[in-house]
């Protein structure tokens, strides 16, 4: 076994919630829908529950098997390996995207004169140490980090109540249906659909049967926090909300309680970073573990640093500027992920059902 750790169902819930919050705390999902973004997030959450159902059904059908092994069983050793390579690329690329998002955020808003590579390297090193310690450690840290983040989200919301104009939310759904659907779809793919990486993690759940409720609960938890953040941002920022790239950050900046509690954004940024750490760690872990399984290695530890270095390099090389990154995230990414988030999982499930696979797998193992 490459991974000896076991995670409990509550840890999985928190890990999924933290993962989903991840970079969507800085880059709000559903921004295309303007002041109806919160509805887009809700719709995205609803549709993502359906997709998560596909993932968990797959995971429950093959208990203790990661995505790599599931692919091998369903599609055979050659096609399965090909699909696995595709997924590993996706996890790897997504991790580098998140890395880039966070580093862009820090360089753009807080440290304008520091080279971006500093942020990339330091956070990658931190994540590497988490990945080396295994999924158990990542899952355990998620509880503490998510608790702190949830507290911070609610606290900032409370501190901003006096700045909120709830009329900013009106009129509800005053936009073309096509645009709303586009926004909801974008919210489904980012962040909720990205939970496909948990097919690498659910295998280490103590009780596989609890996968469905834990994943659902985790998604709902993250959805609630995102909706709260979205409503807060829209009601505080009003019509200017869609033009801010980092709207949560912008909203929190406005906190001003008696000239004492002012400009708390840097503390909230800490929470953003903690969530980003969780997201990058899970993706990083998925990539490293998947590669080790693909290559039949005895341990994934030797892969951690090389893959981390490649991740840093890719995140520097792939975009010329922040604007390119945002453009990719909002306009290209939703279509780029179709095979990974919907196509292959659905197809895998259908093939598995048609071939009656889990039974066969059992006989094969006997």
């Amino acid at each position: 076994m490459l991974e000896k750790g076991k995670i409990s169902s509550s840890q999985l819930t928190f890990l999924i919630a933290g993962f989903t919050l991840g970079s969507s705390l800085i880059l709000s999902p559903g921004l295309v829908a303007g002041h109806d973004a919160w509805l887009a997030v809700l719709a995205g959450l609803g549709s993502s529950l359906l997709i998560a159902f596909i993932y968990t059904t797959l995971a429950v059908k093959f208990p203790g098997k990661t995505l790599v092994q599931i692919n091998d069983i369903i599609f055979g050793p050659y096609l399965g390996k090909l699909i696995t390579i595709g997924y590993l690329w996706y996890f790897f690329h997504l991790a580098s995207l998140v890395l880039r998002n966070f580093s862009d955020f820090f360089v753009g808003l807080i440290y304008p004169e520091t080279p971006i590579i500093v942020f990339l390297i330091f956070i990658t090193l931190t994540c590497a140490s988490a990945v080396r310690n295994g999924i158990e450690v990542i899952a355990r840290t998620s509880i503490i980090l998510l608790f702190v983040t949830a507290c911070a989200t609610f606290l900032t919301t409370v501190l901003l109540v006096k700045d909120m104009e709830f009329t900013n939310l009106l009129p509800v759904l005053d936009l073309p249906l096509k645009q709303f659907i586009k926004a909801s779809y974008a919210a489904t793919t980012f962040p909720f659909g990205e939970t496909v990486v948990f097919l690498m993690v659910i295998a280490f759940l103590e009780n596989t049967k609890q996968a469905k409720p834990s994943v659902t609960l985790g998604l709902i938890l993250a959805g609630i926090l995102l909706v709260v953040a979205s409503v807060r941002n829209i009601s505080v920022l009003g019509v200017t909300e869609p033009i801010h790239t980092y709207d949560s950050y912008q909203a929190v900046r406005l906190i001003n309680i008696g000239e004492i509690l002012t400009r708390l954004e840097i503390i909230v940024v800490g929470n953003f970073l903690a969530m980003g750490f969780l997201k990058i760690s899970v993706l990083y872990y998925g990539t490293v573990l998947g590669t080790a399984q693909l290559l039949n290695l005895r341990s994934y530890l030797p892969l951690v640093l090389p893959i981390g270095i490649l991740m840093v390099i890719l995140s520097i090389l792939q975009f010329e500027s922040t604007i390119e990154n945002i453009h990719f995230a909002f306009d290209i990414y939703p279509y780029y992920v179709i095979p990974f988030q919907f196509g292959i999982p659905l197809f895998s499930l259908i093939v598995a059902v048609v071939r009656g696979l889990p039974k066969k797998a059992k006989e094969g193992s006997k």
Binding site: I110, F119, N133, T141, L145, E259, I266, G270, L273
Partner: protein, 542 residues
Amino acid sequence: MRRVIRPLDMDQWKEKRQQKNTKPVDIAIDLKDYALEKDIGKNEQNYRTIFRKCSDVVIRPFKLGTNCEVKALLVYVDGLIDKSLVNNFLMRSVMLLMGGKEHLMIRENSFDLLKDCVINIGEVSVEDTIEKAIDKILVGECIFMVDGHREVLSVSVRGWEARGISEPDTEAVVRGPREGFTETLRFNTAMLRRKIKSPDLKIEIKTKGKYTKTDIAVCYISALSNQGVIHEVFKRIDRIDIDGILESSYIEELIEDEPWSPFPQIEYTERPDVVAANLMEGRVAIMVDGTPFVLIVPTIFAQFLQSSEDYYQRFYLSSLFRMGRFLALNIALLLPSIYVAATTFHQEMIPTSLLVSIANQREGVPFPALLEALVMEFTFELLREAGIRLPKPIGQAVSIVGALVIGDAAVAAGLVSPAMVIVVAITAIASFSLPAFNMAITLRILRFPITFLAGMLGFYGIILALLAILIHLTSLRSFGVPYLAPVAPFRLDELRDVLLRVPWWRMDYRPESMEPRDKRRQGERQKPSPENRNGKGDGGNA
């Protein structure tokens, strides 16, 4: 006549050289070369060889019986035995009184007669090898031999000068027992036994250390402690092979789970009540002879924020104190780095008026905040260290130097800003308010790299450092129990005794992280209420 000196060949030369070298040096005694003999004269000779140049060992041959026909020998270490016991009871009874049975005494039966009828001291054992006999002598027993018998009698007459029981300095309390462990293992086990009067309290002794032969007592309550943990403790202690153990920290470092971690993974205490409370939660205590500090395993992080007094004061107060200590922990770890980050990178988060005054203060200071903080922290650590080591009268001089020179003159000279002095002072107070000294040291060590990161990368550096510490803490285990136990992995039920301290009538269960054999701590419905008081103490049946 002429003497012819022949040159030596190589072998002869080597032999001669070896003789020359060995002659004046005492080679180590191998006890395997010696054995207990029937002949008392040979025995005496053996002991004199083994204990040659040991001025504190007394070897006393004498004769017994009506006609003084039975030769006997007494060996003990002066200073480790109670002389009045030996003189008044042992020697007196065998030489003078003989239990009124002197007429029965002949050479053949003398040994059994002495053992069974004559020696009037409680603890007597028979040893049949010389190794055991020597061990007994060295731990303070008196060895008694008679002519014609191979076995020896070992009489327990231990008694030496020891420090009395006093209040532990390191863990003083306002309310609670004022006794602390001492250096003598037997006193310590007795203090524990006086707290837990149950045959379930097991105290197993292991002897470790080639030269110190230190007794290590592993204490646990067999009905509560997890078998796996006890087994693990013995396994780890058994593999220790060291020349000497002078303090329990030797054991601590030899049985830790993660030897390179900066965090202490084993709690120590000087207080019998703390040990008793921990044993009753299913933990295992390790006592070491020669030190009052007792180790407790498995240890979780939260224990370092708790003081024994939390359980003796009212629960509101205790809960508040625990939260206060948690705050102090964060201040001790982070305050200098937050100050550095805020003044260097994130000036906007400081309220404007405060920012203006800090900027004013810093105007004449030539150094960046990072350097200022590191220098001040380092100076403070030096002052603290100097204050501990110096004799008390001079120690006061150190504090004057610290207060006047560092606090006042450095500010007046424009070397540091007053705000920095305040920050360092608050950090110091916060680190002293933690009940566990070893945890405070860890925080002090970690403070420097975090300050450094804060000076380089601002809050980004602080957050990453905290994440790295968190990763490390969650990966730690102490004897199979996760270090951050009730928080990560999360156990809601146990949180009642981490940052809060709920009243005793709500602590129905022992902490589950320790996996105790018996989970229930007390009967149901212990909360005092009118119905319970009227009943005959049988809970809420009334």
